[in-house]
């Protein structure tokens, strides 16, 4: 395949393209879903193909195919060029890519145990055991467990001379207890909702999640929620758990700092951003406690890699520093608008999709508080844990997030449980009300395997490093 890729790069050069790259990608996916005593789905999917991206006549074209013959690769090259010529019909100016260092390199994500070599019995057994614990309370109607493993081999080559091979292994798992009584259902998940937590690691990551040790707790918390009152509507202090903070960072900082959104190129589907070009180094995004960084270099993060899908080396870049909005996530094309270099965030879901600016590991830097001290320091408020619902406007200002569980905080102690809790706000006002963030001891990276963007839709694996944080004067409990 490497030789065919090099031949196609030569072929594209002869077609006098302004620029071209080719990406061959092969992915194996294993997916296991257990419900109660039954393995509901157990599948292994193989996927491979290549995509060719060209700039010709100053405009973009992209074509992709799952057929790997030399003839098909030439046909796809020709199609990509024809598409670029069609794009050029409406261009206002030529596409300009900011220069980047050209790499010939290999990258391999680190892991200890290859999950594809762990027996199916072992994997199913762990999930069935966890479900058996969850089912021990008769009010739990559904016990669910899931695992997914991804192995991706990528080769990227460009007419500029880049040739990069990457191999990335990802693993994840989670459990859910759903308790039902009459027409009321309540759910608790571990370690996070929407099928758990994920990392660029091997089966050792699943083992370290301690699913069995947490099954009883999620069971009892789900049952307790059935008889809990709904969170009343009020304005109060909130402490948000680390996993819900991951969602908060994702929606209200990750997406609005994607420079393609800011420049309007995602308007038709996901929308734009309130963090417009005039606001850089001007907008007080949050309190001075708030620093947020895009970091693709952290070992094990689900948003970690060696090089992005434009061949730009993985980087660490501040988006918000001490509360001030200081930077975007960029690509070679969008960075050129700012006369900057790309900070390497262009990734595609697969061989058949163009790379877009995608979050890497977008991390809220840890503060100084112990969680116990933070709760003790809070006279009145609520503690919110694990995301249940999420919605935000198309410029990422007005958000409303729901959580699985909520506990009252009174005089520095956790009290009764509330169900169906939501909180809502306007992004910069909200982040400016942050007065405390927990320390590194409470900080961890949460893998998010389902971030959607683009047309055709692309689902990307991203991550967020967060610890619990406190916010003042937040509107909560406006569910109905």
């Amino acid at each position: 395949m490497k030789d065919r890729i090099k031949e196609i790069i030569d072929y594209l050069k002869k077609k006098k393209v302004d620029y071209a790259d080719i990406r061959h990608q092969k992915t194996s996916l294993e997916d296991i879903r257990v419900k109660n005593n039954t393995v509901e789905a157990l599948s292994r999917n193989e996927d491979q193909g290549f995509g060719i991206r060209v700039i010709k006549n100053g405009a973009w074209g992209f074509a992709a195919s799952s057929i790997l013959s030399p003839e098909e690769m030439k046909r796809v090259s020709d199609t990509a060029c024809e598409i670029a010529e069609a794009s050029a019909l409406t261009k206002k100016e030529d596409v300009r890519l900011t220069p980047t260092e050209i790499h010939q390199d290999k990258y391999q994500s680190q892991y200890q145990k290859d999950p594809f070599k762990v027996s199916i019995d072992t994997k199913i057994g762990l999930l069935l055991d966890a479900c058996a614990i969850i089912q021990k309370n008769p009010k739990v109607k559904v016990a669910e467990g899931s695992m997914s493993f991804f192995k991706t081999e990528k080769v990227f080559a460009s007419t500029e001379g880049a040739f990069i091979e990457q191999s990335i292994l990802e693993s994840g798992a989670g459990i859910i207890a759903t308790a039902v009584e009459g027409s009321e259902a309540q759910r608790r998940s571990y370690p996070n909702s929407f099928r758990g937590d994920y990392a660029s690691r091997g089966y050792e990551f699943v083992e370290q999640l301690k699913l069995l040790e947490n099954a009883e707790r999620v069971r009892e918390e789900a049952v307790e929620l059935l008889s809990s009152p709904p969170l009343p509507e009020m304005e109060t202090t909130i402490i948000i758990s680390g996993n819900q903070m991951a969602l908060q960072v994702h929606e209200s900082c990750g997406h609005p700092t994607e420079l393609d959104r800011v420049l309007g190129t995602e308007i038709s589907l996901a929308g734009g951003s309130f963090m417009t070009l005039d606001k850089i180094n001007q907008l007080k995004y949050g309190s001075e406690k708030v620093s947020i960084v895009a970091d693709a270099t952290i070992p094990g993060g689900l948003g970690s890699f060696g090089y992005d899908d434009e061949g730009v080396k993985a980087q660490r870049a501040y988006l918000v520093k001490d509360g001030l909005f200081v930077g975007y996530q960029t690509s070679r094309e969008t960075a050129a608008v700012l006369n900057q270099q790309s900070n390497g965030t262009m990734r595609a879901e697969g061989w058949n999709r163009i790379p877009l600016i995608r979050m890497t590991n977008i991390n809220l830097e840890p503060g100084e508080w112990e969680l116990e001290d933070l709760i003790k320091d809070t006279k009145e408020g609520v503690f919110l844990d694990i995301n249940k619902s999420w919605s935000i406007d198309d410029k990422r200002l007005n958000f409303q997030f729901g959580v699985e569980a909520c506990w009252e905080i009174k005089n520095g102690k956790l009290g009764k449980t509330y169900k169906n809790a939501i909180y809502t706000g306007i992004t910069p006002q909200f982040w400016n009300s942050c007065d405390a963030i927990c320390n590194r001891k409470h900080w961890r990276i949460w893998g998010v395997p389902n971030c959607g963007k683009g047309e055709p839709m692309q689902t990307m694996h991203v991550a967020h490093g967060t610890s619990p944080a406190r916010f003042r004067n937040v509107k909560v409990g406006v569910s109905k």
Partner: protein, 449 residues
């Protein structure tokens, strides 16, 4: 296009090698193109040729699934072998009733040659005309225009062998001004049906009419929901409530409510994959013919849709709503219809003393309280204040948080005319929705634009 004979014969031939009690294969493949634009220029323009073949091997009641995106015999045989190996190591699924047997399917036309062959140049030329029309008003356009063909086939060891070729064309337009925007879209199996000029003018008009939007406080208002807005609500209701999984797990708003009145007399919703007037598709991914299923009939909760396994659990027959074999989601309604009434959009506006007219919603989520079908979301791309029977001005976007059981109990008027709205299910599904006037719709917040 590979063609019916080649697909069915290769899959059948590979399945014959299955060392399992039974097996099936699902083929989904085709070619598609999508031209995406923003700031009145094409910035993304893509083409794809791809396929996927799923094999499901059954040993006793143990099921293994494997798939490949190669249509080469040796890769297909390897995928089938993987499915068999997985089945051998699986646990029994007591709810598996066996694979379906050969059945008759509705003969419907879902393929239009011109739609399959519409080129990137043709898409770009249409886009340019749209940009020029918007430019006349100093407006810019974002959106996408896509077309393509797909072949879907299901073959199993019980002699099921069904095949359907289909095409789809879809365009969406967001016309942008300084502080307003307007939206229009259209989905069809036939690209000739797409009314470019009309869509462009609609999006331009909405953008112009919503210039300098005014603030409206959160609270309860009558709303006039255009078909895109109605469909977005129903799409989420489908996800949380019309499928067998949520129903059986007790999280659906239909759980424990079948036969009970949960919406107004004037609300009927059903699924019908065989209605050729929309995005029809005659069988599901197990090869079971699609049945018309009443979900809500005159406000009464009537039922949900099933695949084979979930149907067996409830001792009923599959309604032909299985998803692909790697899914654990049970049956899901992909071809939703909301019955029309006798009103018109103009009539609704004229009848309204005060109301908010909503073109579409953004980023709805319905997972907070699924048993009560509580959804939240934002308005977007054309939200208007209606007073004394007239559209007065644009308003800034609002957040709603509302139970759909309450909302669809408060429907005052429904239009006769319905529109085919694009859904999450791409080539094999859609939502056919009218516009609705709904009283006491609750807005819980607002944004700054």
């Amino acid at each position: 296009m590979i063609g019916k004979d080649k697909i069915l014969s290769l899959l059948s031939s590979v399945l014959k090698k299955a060392e399992a009690d039974s097996a099936d294969a699902v083929y989904i493949g085709g070619e598609s193109g999508l031209t995406r634009f923003a700031n009145s220029t094409i910035h993304q323009n893509v083409s794809e040729r791809n396929s996927r073949v799923y094999f499901r091997a059954i040993i006793g009641k143990k099921i293994g699934v494997a798939s490949t995106n190669s249509f080469i015999r040796e890769d297909l045989e390897k995928a089938l072998y993987n499915a068999i190996e997985i089945a051998k190591n699986q646990k029994e699924n007591p709810d598996f009733p066996g694979l379906p047997h050969q059945q008759d399917y509705s003969k419907i036309n879902t393929y239009f040659e011109k739609t399959a062959r519409f080129t990137p140049i043709q898409r770009a030329e249409e886009a340019k005309k749209i940009f020029d029309q918007a430019q006349a008003f100093n407006l810019t356009v974002a959106g996408s225009f896509s077309n393509g063909d797909t072949e879907i086939a299901v073959v199993n060891s019980n002699h099921v062998a069904c095949y359907q070729p289909l095409t789809t064309a879809y365009i969406n337009l967001v016309v942008m001004g300084d502080n307003s925007s307007g939206y229009a879209d259209q989905l069809s199996r036939n690209v000739d049906d797409i009314k470019m000029e009309e869509l462009t003018q609609t999006a331009i008009r909405k953008c112009m009419d919503s210039k300098n939007p005014k603030d409206v406080d959160a609270g309860e208002y009558p709303v006039i929901l255009e078909p895109s807005a109605v469909a977005a609500l129903v799409e989420w209701m489908n996800y949380i409530g019309f499928g067998s999984k949520s129903f059986q797990e007790g999280t659906s708003f239909l759980s424990n409510r079948i036969g009970k009145k949960i919406m107004g007399d004037n609300v009927t919703m059903y699924d019908d994959g065989t209605d050729e007037s929309a995005i029809a598709f005659p069988f599901d991914f197990e090869g079971v013919p699609k049945q018309k299923v009443m979900l809500i009939e005159k406000g009464l909760a009537k039922g949900v849709v099933y695949d084979s396994i979930s149907a067996h659990k409830d001792k009923v027959k599959s309604t032909g709503h299985a998803l692909t074999p790697d899914s654990a989601e049970g049956g899901l309604a992909l071809n939703l219809f909301i019955e029309g009434g006798d009103s018109s959009l103009d009539g609704m506006i004229k009848s309204a003393e005060k109301a908010i007219l909503i073109t579409r919603f953004h980023y709805i989520n319905g997972l907070l309280d699924t048993n009560n079908a509580v959804l939240t979301g934002m308005t977007r791309d054309g939200t208007f204040w209606v007073e004394d029977g007239k559209i007065k001005h644009g308003i800034k976007n609002l957040r709603f948080t509302e139970s759909m059981l309450k909302a669809f109990s408060n429907v005052r008027l429904i239009t006769k005319e319905r529109k085919i709205i694009n859904s999450w299910w791409g080539d094999v599904g859609c939502i056919v929705a009218p516009a609705m006037l709904i009283d006491n719709f609750k807005f819980t917040g607002k944004t700054e634009f």
